[in-house]
Subunit: 127 residues, 2 copies
Amino acid sequence: MPAAIVESFISAIEHHDLEFALTHLSEDCEYDNVPMGSVNGRDAVRATLAPFLGMFDAIEWVTTHQVASGTAADGVVMNERLDRFRSGERSLELPVAGLFVVRDGHITLWRDYFDKETLLVAMAALG
Amino acid sequence: MPAAIVESFISAIEHHDLEFALTHLSEDCEYDNVPMGSVNGRDAVRATLAPFLGMFDAIEWVTTHQVASGTAADGVVMNERLDRFRSGERSLELPVAGLFVVRDGHITLWRDYFDKETLLVAMAALG
């Protein structure tokens, strides 16, 4: 099921295991942060995510709604999330809607919709 | 099917028939534009949408992905859209991810995720 692949991917991120998370992506996966631009390929996703995720002691992405169609060979997953990040005593919470296109058991497109200003204001508050 | 309710709702908006669109919403429907706030109830949705939609000669919401689960009695629909609006020679396009919770044949929650700055810059360009 495509949802299981997405859930395993997110669980790996929550467990600070970016390398395992990346194995869920196709080699040429597109990762699109809609208001901030997109990158292509596992290496580019690693380069984008590693510095960001490395800022935080705890990561929890709470999925509030999720719907999926198709199979792990050809499927689509969308979820609504509250992406929570904690650094010491401070934390950040970002409302996100994500789209995941799954082909042949791997995520080929990961597109997150959120408000850029909401993220930047929350990042600035972390100090 | 919950997707049919959402598609009929969007079709009514595209046809400038806001009153018919509103019949797809529950009386106490929450309409949440994530970066801009939410309103509750058909009257409040009308008051929010009518001035905005009235600015445009043509409205087209292109659904690029859609997934749904459940039934019209208890279902969830998420879609990825390019919401296009045209006024005279000028047009605006906003990437959106939408969540629709459907209960008893009506949309009880409509939540759109997008980047506020993208919308405001596009609105300003309309002149």
